[in-house]
């Protein structure tokens, strides 16, 4: 034996590393392309225009992310559209983006969710290189690179919006490479509609390496380690409430065909407009201007955290604030002033609403013992509370005035009568007692 050299262990490791097939997967869900934002009051024209483009631009960002990361696979876990009446603009942008990925060699896999069930698809083209899973049964599609299967993607679509089956139980591992489950489902979250309900145990039992989930709009890691499972959340927030606030985007997975995920999913923000809710403590503020300054300081922080995006804010003001009555009285003016200041910035900050919770609680017992009109108001409110029919009759009389206006739908989620009575009672007491409720 002559001429054979000793090879050190690091060289061996490098050679072994070179033999491993590493690739990247991008996971997004709930794109709700080109659908309007909800829960917002009227916005400035510039903000409205930006909002209209936000979801489409976020999708464009997703395409850029796949290309930048040289991803092998893009996973779209349902609710690409908000409903069956999808915009042509959205379809075209989606198709163009997916075709661009197809040309670049990125395989796209998609399932239909409750917002865009297969029954309402209408045969819209997804573009070449995109595989859309059928409903009714789970199918598996291998993904090859250089002749080797690096992953097998399993998925199933919603046929109808009301999908109540536990679809996770239909998944079984097959084929080679990384086993990916693509599913629009509610994994034990009572806050969301119970479509395709399942549990984490169901997910574990299915034998997948990674569950690419959709449906829940807040980003969440459902399973950690082996297997992994995650909701990436919506691609672009659409409301200043609930799971729509904060950074929104997609997850990037660094994978190996044999070792699975090499690291926890990495979040990349892709939203174009950031929705945030702020709670601003204005205790000790000298005056209203001081309170406004604190709000603007908080907005500045949110703006910096948004990293160059436009920001839509809804703020709750808390704390003990002396001139609360003035704040209450000038609420509209303050909001308009904040909106004006925020709009002048680039990128903009749009204040949607201010929620004043700076008032001291109304001391009902103390008022009740006063024997004055305020106490009488409390007693009258108690009487109405005890007589829902009277209250209902009064409200019915009042709402007669609303009959000719198209506000029935608007009042669909209206405040219950008892809560409304409490609110009315508080209004009276604050006005009668000079605002502090004592």
């Amino acid at each position: 034996m002559t001429g054979r050299q000793e090879i050190d262990s690091s060289t061996v490791a490098i050679c072994e590393g070179a033999l491993l097939l590493r690739f990247k997967v991008v996971h997004a869900a709930d794109l709700h392309l080109d659908t309007p934002c909800s829960g917002l009051g009227r916005t400035a024209p510039a903000v409205a225009a930006a909002l209209r483009e936000a979801s489409l631009e976020a999708f464009a960002g997703l395409v850029e992310l796949c290309l930048r990361e040289e991803a092998a696979i893009l996973l779209l876990a349902g609710d690409v559209y908000d409903g069956p009446e999808r915009g042509i603009r959205a379809e075209r942008r989606l198709r163009a983006g997916l075709e661009r990925l197809g040309v670049a060699g990125v395989r796209t896999f998609a399932v239909h969710g409750n917002h865009d069930p297969l029954s309402g698809d209408g045969g819209a083209a997804w573009g070449t290189g995109t595989h859309v899973f059928a409903a009714d049964e789970v199918t598996a599609v291998p993904v090859e690179r250089d002749g080797t299967v690096i992953a097998t993607v399993h998925g199933i679509s919603f046929r109808e919006r009301e999908e109540r089956r536990n679809l996770a139980r239909l998944f079984r591992p097959s084929g080679e490479g990384l086993q990916i489950g693509l599913l629009h489902a509610n994994v034990g979250d009572p806050q969301h509609a119970p479509y395709a309900p399942c549990s984490t145990e169901d997910l574990r039992a299915a034998g997948m390496d990674y569950w690419a989930l959709g449906h829940v709009h807040g980003r969440r890691l459902v399973l950690e380690g082996g297997p992994w499972g995650a909701y990436p959340g919506v691609l672009q927030g659409r409301s200043p409430a609930g799971g729509e606030t904060g950074a929104k985007g997609a997850l990037v997975l660094a994978c190996d065909d044999r070792l699975g995920l090499l690291e926890p999913p990495r979040f990349v923000a892709l939203d174009r407009i950031r929705f945030e809710t702020l709670e601003v403590d204005i205790s000790g503020a000298m005056d209203v201007q001081d309170a406004i300054d604190r709000l603007e300081t908080a907005a500045q922080t949110a703006r910096e955290e948004a990293e160059g995006r436009g920001v839509i804010l809804r703020a709750t003001l808390t704390g003990d604030f002396g001139p609360e009555a003035e704040l209450q009285l000038r609420q509209g003016e303050i909001l308009a002033s904040l909106q004006e200041t925020g709009l002048a910035q680039d990128p903009f900050v749009w204040w949607d609403a201010l929620d004043l919770r700076t008032r001291a609680p109304i001391l009902r017992d103390e008022i009740r013992g006063g024997g004055d009109l305020a106490a009488e108001v409390l007693r009258e409110a108690d009487r109405l509370r005890a007589s829902p029919d009277d209250l209902g009759r009064i409200l019915g009389e009042l709402e007669q005035d609303l009959s000719r206006f198209p506000v029935r739908d608007a009042l669909a989620g209206r405040t219950p009568a008892a809560d409304l009575l409490t609110e009315a009672e508080e209004i009276c007491l604050r006005l009668l007692t000079g605002g502090d409720g004592r």
Binding site: D34, T35, P36, C37, S38, G39, L40, G41, R42, T43, A48, L51, R52, E53, E85, G87, I88, R89, R92, G370, G371, D372, L373, A374, E376, V377, R379, E380, A381, L384, I394, L395, L398, E399, D401, L402, R404, F405, P406, V407, D409, A410, L411, G413, R414, T415, L420, L421, E423, A424, E425, I427, C428, L431, L432, T433, G434, G435
Partner: protein
């Protein structure tokens, strides 16, 4: 709330008015009419609530001060101080010193508004009767809602606010509410969304239409392409008809013509070449013969012109000609040299004469060193002379200074002479001191005598009175005699007498010191002192003169010393000057300077010698140069004369003419040499021309032979036959060429398919082709129109499709709908809450008024019953709730209108007490301030009312201030209400009620008119332009305010500034 006091800075007629320690309970403030009671009421209202709108110009501070003041009050938290100045925010200082504003004050007042305070708590008779019914809503509000709110607004204002707020959201029968507007906007947005959605639904239809149109366009395009191809073919075919026909004609002509015989091309070319060569050779031979003849002629002409004699002396002649210009220069130079030498000679003679030397003698050599030595000697001698002159001037100065010093000594000696007979300075000072003491003793003695004069006279008077009493046996006064005597004795022999005597002794002693027999009187002493001072002045001057004498003598000695020194220096300077003079004389002698040359002229003499020598040297050099020029001129003349002799020409006698004679030969010589050269060249040309003529003849012969050989070969007789053949053959070949060109042209035009076209042309018909082409053009136009239309339709569809595809209208309108729905939801929610709050408050008020009314009426009934001494037992509300009823003990109920005025007012007062009590019980007890509201009551009911008022105010925390102008009422009230406190409003701080309405400019006008002096009312009326009654009122006010005094009484009363 108990008012504890106030301080009015300026308010109406009040300025600096204070009140302190007001008690709880009932207080009666007594003041006559126009004492300012109503102003005080206004002040208290102002302090607690500020002015109502339109009141700001009332109660201006007529007497100055800031418009407002301070008020202190006490409640359960302690004593508060309120400061209010018109135009500034009120300041309320809490018991612990914190400063609060209007809000804090409103809290203290239980949220009461100004109107209610005026109606219920602080009112005058007018306002009492103004609140006359209970059936008006606002009255009901005042009676029942006032005080039922806390620190906020009245219930009615809250209700109004809620209604206004709800109206802002929704107005069922208007378009102004927010919900109304949002609903309209939402309906429009939904219509827009529907339209946009329908438009988007057309996307598929548009795509189908577009596909059909595009297919139509494509089919038309294909047909048009086919037709274009056919039309193009026909156009080409038509274009080929002309060349095709021309080719056919040429081919026909060639087929009928016989061709000339053919000659080999090389033979033709050889014949043409030999023919041309022969012609050229002949032409060259003739030319060469002409050239030979021409050269011969030129040679003959040159021979005739050639001067060979001149050529024989060409070499020496050229030599002198070359130096001819030089010779002329030499002649000119030698003349100039002669002139220069003569000039220098004259110059030299003048210089020698000026210097005074013989230029022929041997002159000394003068160098720069020599000149410098002489110059230094002269300069030294000059400086020595100057030194000697300065020494002489100094000696003169010293002599003058000595003379002045001697004069000064003589003058000082004269001034100092008086000193020899004067006293010494010490003596003078001793005498001066003695005189001063003498004068002081005189003055002391006089003063003491003066001091003793009064007591002395008194003692004498006592003594005289005592003695007189003794004489008159008035024994009581007789005691004065011994008293006066004793006083005299004490003055004469006691300490005063001793002092006088001691001073007199000192005076005498001082006189002795001065050498006087007795003391002097003060005038003499003054004269003595004056004389002494004059003497002292004279001595002082002489002493100064003596000092100046000493200084002058020292100056004289110094001048003498200086003169001596000057004389020594002068001698030394003279010696040095003599020495320098001798040295300079020795130097000039050594330089050969004549002895008669003075020292200042030595250097110029030496410079003259130096210049003379330089001119002489230059003159010598000029003479040498003239000699050299003479030699060169002579040599050239000799050679020139020799040439002239050889040519047999005359030699000029004058030197200057020789160059001209030589110069005249230059041109003939040049001509002879030119002719000689030309002759030589012509001969060479003749030889060459002859050689060329011979060669050409040989060439000509050879060419003729070769031509003949070639013609024979072509079977032609001669050159003329050859020319004819060539012409015929050329014409034939030209026609052949034309035919070939036509054929080639046809092929070029038709191209590869020439054969096919040839068949078509051979078989075709031009008219048929043109007709077909017309049909095709018409069809193509049809297709173009249809295609354009289809393309436009397609573009339109493409645009529509792109617009729909990229339109954001649907999401935009959807977003707009969502936004509006959200706003509508918010607005509807807010409206529901506010509307329900309003309804809740309305219901509460109804219940509240119903439940509270009896309490107020019960208190009012008690008060009314007491005031009317049970004549009326109750106050009730009418059954319809629209008014009050007074219930008498007997008989039916009475409407307020049925009551007498006094009883009506009692009813309303009773009602106010009920309201105030209710407010005090529920919210805050506030002070009652009543301004003469009982004037219409009979005395009994006045007292009974005051009893009720006292009873009301005696409750804890309550207070009532009752203003009246009736002292009798005050006295009666004190009996009726033992705890009553009566305070008088003093006249000095008050003015009349009229002053409240006093307009400041009018008052100021009267004050200004009164400035110069007192005036009567009529005069004031005339001057001021006001009516008389007004003037009387104003004047009265000003009198009360202390600004004006009344002078006199009755008709003669006048008024002047206080």
């Amino acid at each position: 709330m108990i008012l504890r006091g106030w301080e009015i800075e300026g308010f109406g007629i009040f300025r600096g008015m204070t009140m302190a320690d007001l008690p709880q309970g009932l207080t009666l403030l007594l003041g006559p009419n126009e004492a300012g009671k109503s102003t005080l009421l206004a002040f208290l209202r102002f302090m607690l609530f500020g002015f109502l709108r339109g009141e700001q110009q009332k109660h201006l501070p007529l007497l100055g001060g800031r418009h407002g003041g301070r008020l202190s009050f006490e409640d359960r938290d302690g004593i508060w101080t309120l400061e209010r100045i018109q135009g500034q925010p009120a300041k309320l200082f809490s018991p612990d010193g914190r400063q609060l504003g209007e809000d804090g004050l409103r809290n203290r007042l239980g949220g009461l508004d100004a109107d209610t305070f005026r109606s219920v708590f602080a009112f005058s008779l007018f306002e009492l009767t103004n609140l006359e019914t209970l059936n008006r809503d606002e009255v009901r509000d005042r009676l029942y809602s006032a005080g039922i709110t806390g620190a906020g607004r009245s219930a009615t204002s809250v209700l109004a606010q809620l209604r206004k707020g709800a109206d802002g959201y929704l107005r069922p029968r208007s378009k102004e509410g927010q919900i109304n507007k949002l609903s309209d906007a939402l309906a429009k947005a939904r219509r827009d969304l529907n339209d946009a959605t329908q438009l988007a639904g057309r996307f598929g239809e548009i795509e189908n239409e577009l596909a059909a149109v595009e297919a139509q366009v494509q089919a038309m395009g294909e047909e048009a392409a086919r037709l274009e191809q056919r039309r193009s073919h026909l156009v080409r075919l038509e274009g080929f008809v002309v060349p095709w026909n021309r080719l056919g004609r040429l081919q026909e002509e060639m087929s009928r013509e016989a061709a000339p015989p053919a000659i080999d091309r090389s033979t033709v070319e050889r014949i043409e070449a030999e023919r041309d060569r022969l012609a050229e050779n002949r032409k060259a031979a003739a030319s060469h013969a002409d050239a030979c003849r021409e050269v011969e002629e030129r040679i003959a002409r040159e021979e005739a012109l050639l001067d060979r004699g001149l050529l024989a002396v060409a070499a020496p002649l050229n030599s002198v000609l070359q130096e001819l210009a030089l010779q002329r220069d030499r002649l000119a130079r030698i003349e100039r040299l002669g002139q220069e030498i003569a000039t220098q000679e004259g110059h030299l003679a003048r210089m020698a004469e000026e210097i005074g030397v013989d230029r022929t003698a041997d002159l000394p050599a003068v160098t720069q060193s020599t000149l410098r030595t002489a110059d230094e000697g002269i300069e030294r001698l000059r400086s020595l002379s100057q030194a000697r002159a300065r020494a002489e001037a100094e000696e003169e100065g010293a002599l003058q200074r000595l003379a002045k010093a001697e004069d000064a000594v003589a003058a000082a000696a004269e001034q100092a002479r008086p000193l020899q007979d004067s006293m010494g300075m010490a003596d003078y000072h001793l005498r001066d001191d003695a005189l001063a003491r003498h004068r002081e003793a005189i003055e002391t003695l006089a003063r003491r005598r003066g001091q003793l004069l009064g007591p002395g006279l008194l003692a004498v008077a006592l003594l005289i009175v005592g003695l007189a009493a003794i004489a008159m046996q008035a024994w009581l006064l007789a005691a004065l005699a011994p008293l006066g005597l004793a006083a005299l004795l004490v003055l004469g022999f006691g300490q005063p007498g001793r002092d006088l005597r001691r001073i007199a002794a000192e005076l005498r002693l001082a006189a002795a010191e001065l050498g006087l027999a007795s003391a002097l009187d003060p005038a003499e002493v003054a004269k003595e002192i004056s004389d002494l001072h004059r003497e002292f002045s004279r001595v002082t001057e002489a002493s100064a003169a003596r000092e100046r004498l000493h200084a002058a003598e020292a100056e004289r000695l110094d001048a003498e010393h200086q003169l001596e020194e000057c004389r020594t220096g002068l001698a030394a300077a003279r010696a040095e000057e003599l020495e320098g003079d001798v040295a300079l004389a020795a130097l000039t002698r050594s330089l050969g300077v004549p002895p008669d040359v003075t020292a200042p002229q030595i250097v110029s003499y030496l410079r003259g010698i130096q210049a003379l020598r330089a001119v002489q040297a230059e003159l010598d050099a000029l003479k040498v140069r003239r000699s050299d020029e003479e030699q060169a001129i002579g040599a050239w003349e000799e050679r020139a004369k020799e040439v002239l002799g050889q040519l047999g020409r005359d030699v000029p006698a004058v030197r200057e003419a020789v160059p001209e004679a030589i110069a005249a030969l230059r041109e003939p010589l040049d001509g002879a040499q030119r002719h000689e050269t030309a002759l030589r060249l012509h001969e060479e040309e003749r030889r060459a021309a002859e050689e060329r003529r011979e060669a050409a003849a040989m060439e000509e012969t050879a060419a003729g032979l070769a031509l003949a050989s070639a013609l024979r070969e072509a079977a032609l007789e001669d050159v003329a036959a050859f020319e004819r053949w060539r012409e015929e053959r050329g014409a034939y070949e030209q026609r052949l060429h034309e035919r070939d060109l036509a054929a080639a042209d046809f092929r070029d035009q038709v191209g590869a398919a020439a054969d096919t076209f040839a068949q078509e042309l051979a078989a075709g018909n031009l008219e048929a082709w043109q007709a077909e082409r017309g049909r095709i053009a018409a069809r193509l136009e049809e297709i173009a129109d249809g295609r354009d239309q289809a393309v436009r339709q397609s573009q339109d569809l493409v645009r529509q499709r792109a617009e729909i595809a990229e339109s954001s209208d649907v999401p935009a309108f959807a977003a707009r709908c969502l936004e509006l729905e959200e706003e509508l939801r918010r607005a509807a929610g807010a409206w529901r809450a506010q509307a329900l709050a309003g309804r809740l408050l309305e219901r509460t008020l109804e219940v509240y008024v119903q439940s509270r009314q009896p309490e107020v009426l019960r208190t009012a009934s008690d008060a009314f019953r007491h005031i009317t001494a049970d004549r009326y037992r109750e106050v009730r509300q009418r059954s319809d709730g629209q008014g009050l009823l007074a219930m008498p003990q007997s008989g039916g109920p009475k409407e307020p209108d049925e009551l007498s005025r006094g009883t009506q007012e009692q009813l309303y007062l009773a009602l106010r007490l009920g309201l105030a009590a209710s407010y005090g019980d529920r919210v805050a007890a506030l002070p009652l301030v009543l301004d003469d509201v009982a004037v219409n009551f009979d005395p009994v009911r006045q007292l009974r009312f005051l009893e009720v008022l006292g009873q009301f105010a005696s409750e804890p925390g309550r207070q009532a201030l009752f203003f009246t102008c009736h002292p009798s009422l005050a006295q009666a009230a004190q009996r009726a209400v033992p705890e009553l406190r009566v305070l008088e409003i003093g006249a000095e701080e008050t003015s009349s009620e009229v002053a409240v309405a006093l307009d400041e400019p009018a008052a100021e006008r009267l004050l200004r008119l009164l400035g110069p002096g007192p005036l009567a009312v009529k005069e004031l009326t005339r001057l001021s332009g006001l009516d008389e009654a007004r003037v009387r009122d104003l004047v009265q006010e000003l009198v009360l305010a202390g600004q004006v005094n009344a002078i006199g009484s009755g008709r003669g009363r006048r008024y002047g500034l206080a």
